[in-house]
Symmetry: C2
């Protein structure tokens, strides 16, 4: 890629626009955008302007790059570029900029488009409204197949898709969906009102974007119509947007599982300060959380002083509880996120978790008693085995329950569970270990 961009840069600097165009014209818009983003906007603009799908390529650029272009372009070029963009990408751009920059975009746009952009950009990030496009194809219920096909032909250049077309009544209420597949199979005189499917899956405009993506996944949809509280059609979300949401949400959940907070975007481009802020919160909280482990040690200082061999196994026992509990939490968080498990399943899943953790605890108790005997003798081995069993079972119970508890109080289970679970299991583990040691071995 970098060699290609270097070659194109040289061509553009030498005024060889045709040569540069030839090098990128067969690329897909998203690849063209990657090339454009590595060029200086001053030399990149003539190339971008020449691309047949320039609005798609422009829409695939990062917002910062889009703005660099917006500030450079003559007003008329900018207006026509913006008006060619997909409606949801246009709204995203509008949303990411401040008032003074908006002044750059608005003039030259048609009134209807401007209002549409304002409407789309008014929805809160993360909901269906912020994801949807307003470029859908509408049909009239009274049309016959030939009229409908002609209408779709006319809609084709601007609609996001013409493979699903929507039928609304005079109040703009969604009353039916008809697929192009059904239309081209039907006789010319069949009516849309007969062909259309009235049993429609929809989502509310304020629905969470993850739920929207899950509907598209469950029902294998190409597009999902979005309606407002009155049942009026306000937009559509397409399969490719659902895929992007799923990837984004999965990344988010994976990051949260490691105690990372805010989203950093692309890791290669994120500012150092942003990466630091994303990571530091939980690490600092865990430092103070870990003081509880220290406090537990303080309580049993005498037994440690009497049997220093106990310290040898401290990281091992504490770590095992955290690891096992972390596994339980991870399984539950993902099951809750994908809709596989629901709040009402808690008791049933807890019963199963107890059985699994008992088996795991017995295995780990057996494993740890071998080095226990070697390093400290049979009494130490007994302490280790009993502690391990108790720590694993309690760790797993905490780990599987905490995500449900957070869900119950409407917190995102992913945002806190794993680091919290580790921290709680650590402190509990230290206490259990030293308590059992104290009972069995005593200070004397």
């Amino acid at each position: 890629m970098e060699e290609l961009v270097d070659a194109i840069r040289t061509q553009l600097e030498n005024g060889d626009l045709e040569g540069a165009f030839a090098a990128v014209e067969d690329l897909q818009p998203v690849d063209q955008a990657e090339v454009i983003s590595l060029l200086d906007p001053k030399i990149g603009w003539p190339l971008l302007e020449k691309l047949p799908e320039r609005a798609d390529a422009f829409g695939d650029l990062e917002v910062d790059t889009q703005l660099a272009y917006a500030e450079l372009l003559p007003r008329s070029s900018l207006a026509s570029l913006i008006s060619e963009m997909r409606s949801n990408e246009r709204a995203d751009l509008y949303n990411s900029i401040d008032e003074s920059q908006r002044e750059l975009l608005l003039p030259g746009m048609e009134k209807a488009q401007r209002e549409d952009m304002r409407r789309l950009s008014s929805y809160a990030e993360g909901c269906a409204g912020a994801l949807m496009s307003s470029d859908y194809a509408l049909l009239d219920a009274k049309m016959n197949t030939i009229e409908a096909l002609n209408a779709l032909r006319r809609a084709a250049p601007n609609a996001e898709t013409i493979y699903s077309a929507y039928v609304v009544d005079s109040q703009n209420n969604l009353i039916g969906v008809v697929s192009l597949r059904d239309l081209i199979r039907a006789r010319g005189d069949e009516l849309v009102s007969v062909l259309m499917n009235t049993n429609i899956i929809t989502a509310q405009v304020d629905e969470d974007q993850e739920e929207v993506a899950r509907l598209i996944e469950r029902y294998d949809l190409m597009t999902l119509p979005i309606v407002n509280a009155m049942g009026q059609l306000v937009g559509i979300v397409t399969h490719d947007d659902a895929l992007d949401v799923m990837v984004e949400e999965a990344t988010d959940d994976i990051h949260k599982g490691a105690g990372l907070t805010s989203d950093v975007g692309t890791i290669k481009d994120a500012a150092i300060g942003l990466l630091y802020r994303k990571r530091i919160l939980w690490l600092v909280l865990l430092v103070f959380g870990n003081l509880f482990s220290g406090a537990a040690i303080g309580v049993f200082e005498e037994i440690i002083a009497a049997h220093l061999v106990l310290v040898f196994f401290l990281p091992l026992l504490v770590g095992s509880g955290g690891n096992a509990g972390g596994q339980s939490a991870t399984l539950m968080i993902r099951a809750l996120a994908t809709g596989e498990a629901e709040l009402s399943d808690w008791l049933y899943l807890l019963g199963r978790e107890l059985l699994v953790s008992l088996a795991i605890g017995v295995t780990l108790a057996a494993a740890v008693s071998v080095p226990g005997v070697i390093r400290g003798g049979p009494e130490v081995a007994l302490v280790l085995a009993l502690s391990m069993l108790a720590i694993v079972i309690i760790g797993c119970t905490i780990g599987m329950s905490l995500p449900f508890l957070l869900s119950k109080v409407n917190l995102d289970p992913a945002s806190a569970s794993a680091p919290l679970v580790t921290s709680i299991c650590d402190a509990t583990g230290v206490f259990i270990y030293l308590f059992i040691a104290n009972q069995i071995m005593g200070v004397g």
Copy 2:
């Protein structure tokens, strides 16, 4: 859902098939499948048979339920049900059953379909071939638009999609793709050879399914044609399959990040033994990995005996290194999985990681020195601060490098990194802490 199923069960037991049908006919196939899966196959079959989209509903059932039906049905009913299924779901079913059960499926199927099923089921799980469908629409380059539309009309009942149609030469080499959108916009006498797009994104039949899904995501594709090494078209993968793969792979990576091995399927249905096996491997390995931490403690036993306060902070320091290193590993694993980072980016990202970890290390050092002074005085605080700084920087370096290293030797970075990183960071952390304590405080 459970109430609905209870009502339907009662209706079916009382012979009220019409009533049961009325209750499910407006549901989507995947929801019908959920109802069916909760019924006894004996009473469920008449209902399933009556559904217009029964093959879709049957395809959405778990394989075990499909088999329960297969064993119950008369041979002719089974054959017609199987022949109506989507080709890739049919192949999945064929793949999940043993020889004797295959005997149940094969008779009654047409020869061409049988061969297609054998071919599709011959690809290794997890590659494009195992994901693809053979139900695509083919067009001839010499057709004009009207002929092409007629061909698609005929293909519509059986093809997975008619919105993208494929053009192959006499050797079955893929030479073009034409969209229904372009076809209905074109004049009737325009030729497919002129309309078709010859600049086609394809994937090889042995390509990893995650890479296939990533192509569909990057290029916003509805379908991706799959070719063999000779460039012959062998199948298509659709957007809904890509979405399923993305969810599955994300779940897999999340589970691996917590040290879980094999896939368990649905957590509510997984056998206890399977859950145990999925979880135990890494936990046992970590027990033995943790013995290195114990060994480090053994080396410095004298300094611990001399300054027991050091034990108080042991879980804290060790945990912080593991947490920070785990964050680094998680960020890199996900960036490698989504294609955001590549192997060649290692050095650049390492430089950035050193800066971030320095900032994190300084912050945590400051945080830990407060309780350090209170509990142990200024000398202990100094030991803690220096140890924390060193542990965090080294932990982050290990954490960010290990995924690259595993990738480099063609291992899945997600499968080992997080638990390994924690284990390595723990042992390193113990050693660093006690080494620094020994240098500064001494045994005397």
